[in-house]
């Protein structure tokens, strides 16, 4: 199977090299030194990693759930064949195709912390005090989360739209006759029929939630005061700014293990639903 070969070369071999690195002190030119578990110990004993894990979990879960629900709502609202909807769907998809770095710029403008910043004037007109969206350590994580949801929802929308296209229309008819109200129809007919889409979206969320990075990086770079520091920003900072590839790899492997666990959970959830 050619797919396997491609994966072997371009994914598995690098992956195993990565695992190998996690047990080494990486100095490409002087030769790598085998250090056993000490890289892992370094990660697990680092208090900044502990904070980062908490942030990762909050951000990852919040963002994933928000994006899944948001995507579903968008897909339901925008399903249909009319030209207007076609237009709105396209517009809603814009955040996905735009380079994240640029999105970071725009959102920093939206979040501009001065009272005359975009969002602050908006909430100001509602009589609320300005918020230092990305500067306030108490708020920054949630500001980042909002951007993540904003970008993730249209992404998931596309997958859900594809799922909705496969729903057998006669089931809607049958349920209408069965007297199902909208909510019943959504819950008992649409959602189960969205199972493939749901599997994809949930697995994707599980795979990605723990490795949120770009959003954080372009918006705050992990700041302020480490308030938005997540697993990946730590890895990045360790591996690429401090040149400690070994520790970064160890942290990555831990991330991998956690992601696998989470993915298994996501698959389990969709299986359960299927069996129900």
């Amino acid at each position: 199977m050619p797919a396997l070969l491609l994966f072997l070369y371009f994914k598995f071999i690098p992956m195993f090299a990565g695992i190998q690195m996690s047990f080494q002190k990486v100095r490409p030119f002087l030769g790598n030194e085998w250090v056993g578990w000490s890289n892992y110990a370094a990660v697990l004993n680092d208090s900044r990693f502990h904070d980062a894990i908490v942030h990762t979990l909050i951000l990852g879960f919040g963002q994933s759930i928000g994006a899944v629900i948001g995507g579903l709502v968008l897909a339901l609202l925008l399903e249909g064949a009319s030209k207007t909807l076609w237009f709105v769907r396209t517009a809603a998809f814009l955040p996905v195709v735009t380079a994240t770095a640029v999105i970071g710029e725009v959102w920093r403008i939206i979040y501009f912390p001065a009272p005359n910043g975009f969002l602050n004037s908006a909430i100001g007109s509602l009589g609320l005090d300005p918020v230092r969206w990305l500067e306030d350590p108490a708020v920054a994580l949630y500001s980042v989360m909002a951007v993540g949801i904003w970008q993730g929802a249209p992404y998931n929308m596309v997958i859900f739209l594809a799922g909705l296209a496969g729903v057998d229309r006669s089931l809607y008819e049958a349920s209408a006759i069965d007297g199902a109200k909208l909510r019943h129809r959504l819950w008992y007919v649409t959602l189960p029929a969205l199972r493939p889409a749901m599997t994809i979206v949930l697995v994707l969320a599980a795979v990605r939630s723990l490795r949120v990075f770009t959003d954080v990086w372009v918006l705050t770079g992990g700041g302020p005061a480490g308030a938005t520091d997540v697993w990946m920003t730590r890895i990045y900072s360790l591996g690429f700014e401090r040149n400690q590839m070994g520790i970064a790899s160890a942290a990555s492997i831990l991330l991998l293990i956690a992601s696998i666990a989470l993915t298994a959970l996501a698959l389990l959830i969709t299986r359960k639903r299927a069996e129900k």
Binding site: S175, A176, I177, D178, G179, A180, Y188
Partner: protein, 359 residues
């Protein structure tokens, strides 16, 4: 209460007209059967009554309510789909109970109703299965079960028994008849099975090409078909049609003959008919008897011996075939010449447009 009226109803899909002007009046509690050839619009009509297809023009009244725009769930109907439309991810139990779950029926009531329906349909052992694990007939039974637990004002059945075996079909037919009696609900039923139509219907509606051909009780349709189409469609095997010429116009009857048929008299409306007109004579295969001096002469071509009856295919002189269903086992020889007689009062004459000249 649940009287159902269709007033000049039309339906078209894009450019194609499927239903072209139907008026129908169904009394509360009636059992109405729609019959008609495949593709004539039966399912479409049913789906319009259910509210699954928009009505292109015309009015649908259920009770005193104009229902054109009423939500299907609010029309008080239950429907068995020709394509079943089972919920694939739900067990049989949940499929049948879905409506009750939606309407919040208490669990025990629900359970007992589901169990009861399963018993009636002989599928108690299947309740835990998913539709994909069922045979065709079992799926159909689930679809029926889903409808009957509802106890609605109006039942719509789209060929509900087509995948069942004879015995189960008879049983289920009986159960439906019983259900009809017990609930007093209006039932509209599409079928291809003559026996079903004849035994169940208070009233049969014959459709063709999106138009109602005739509405009447089974016996009316059988004995007094309004036109050639109905005559040919109702009754099995099909009525024999023989082209004849009027030789004499009598009082309340016509004398007709043809190369194959010596002159005989048939009661008919004599209205505009005059001697020499070409008409069509319709005789049901069951009305033909072997009689050595019968007026119709033919040559046996095919013989089907079913035990209790024998079906004879015979060619007439002009090449047309005629079919006779004879009682009992009649071992005739293929190729031999036979003569048939018939009771003129049970034959029907049709004019050039195909309308029956009923006396």
């Amino acid at each position: 209460m649940a009287r159902l009226q269709l007033k000049d109803v039309y339906k078209s899909f894009n450019q194609t007209d499927v239903i072209t002007g139907i008026d129908l009046d169904i009394e509360h509690g009636e059992f109405v059967v729609f019959v008609g050839p495949s593709g004539c619009g039966k399912s479409t009509l049913l789906r319009m009554i259910a509210g699954l297809e928009t009505i292109s023009s015309g009015e649908l009244w259920i009770g005193d309510e104009l229902c054109n725009d009423v939500h299907p769930g609010d029309r008080g109907i239950a429907m068995v789909f020709q394509s079943y439309a089972l919920y694939p991810h739900m067990s049989v139990y949940d499929n049948i109970g879905f409506n009750m779950r939606v309407t919040g029926t208490p669990r025990e009531v629900r359970d007992s109703k589901i169990k009861n329906a399963a018993r009636i349909l002989q599928m108690e052992h299947l309740l835990e299965r998913k539709p994909s694990q069922l045979s065709g007939g079992q799926r159909q039974r689930v679809a029926i079960g889903r409808a009957i637990v509802r106890e609605p004002r109006v039942f719509l059945f789209d060929e509900p028994l087509s995948n069942l075996d004879a015995a189960l079909r008879v049983d289920t037919r009986m159960e439906l008849a019983k259900l009809h009696r017990d609930l007093g609900a209006t039932m509209i039923y599409v079928t291809h099975d003559q026996v079903e139509a004849m035994t169940l219907a208070d009233k049969i509606v014959v459709l063709n090409g999106g138009v109602v051909q005739q509405v009447g009780t089974p016996i009316e349709l059988y004995q007094r078909p309004a036109n050639l189409f109905v005559a040919g469609f109702i009754g099995s095997p099909k009525m024999n049609f023989i082209s004849v010429e009027v030789s004499d116009v009598g009082q309340g009857g016509l004398k007709v003959k043809s190369p194959d048929i010596s002159e005989c008299e048939v009661p008919a409306a004599t209205g505009n008919v005059k001697a020499g007109d070409r008409l069509t004579l319709g005789i049901r295969p069951q009305e033909l008897k072997l009689e050595p001096d019968g007026p119709i002469t033919g040559n046996v071509t095919v013989l089907e011996r079913l035990g209790s009856e024998t079906i004879v295919n015979a060619d007439l002189a002009d090449g047309k075939a005629i079919l006779a269903v004879l009682e009992g086992d009649r071992p005739l020889d293929i190729g031999s010449s036979v003569k048939f007689a018939f009771d003129g009062s049970k034959a029907v004459l049709f004019d050039g447009e195909g309308s029956a000249l009923l006396p």
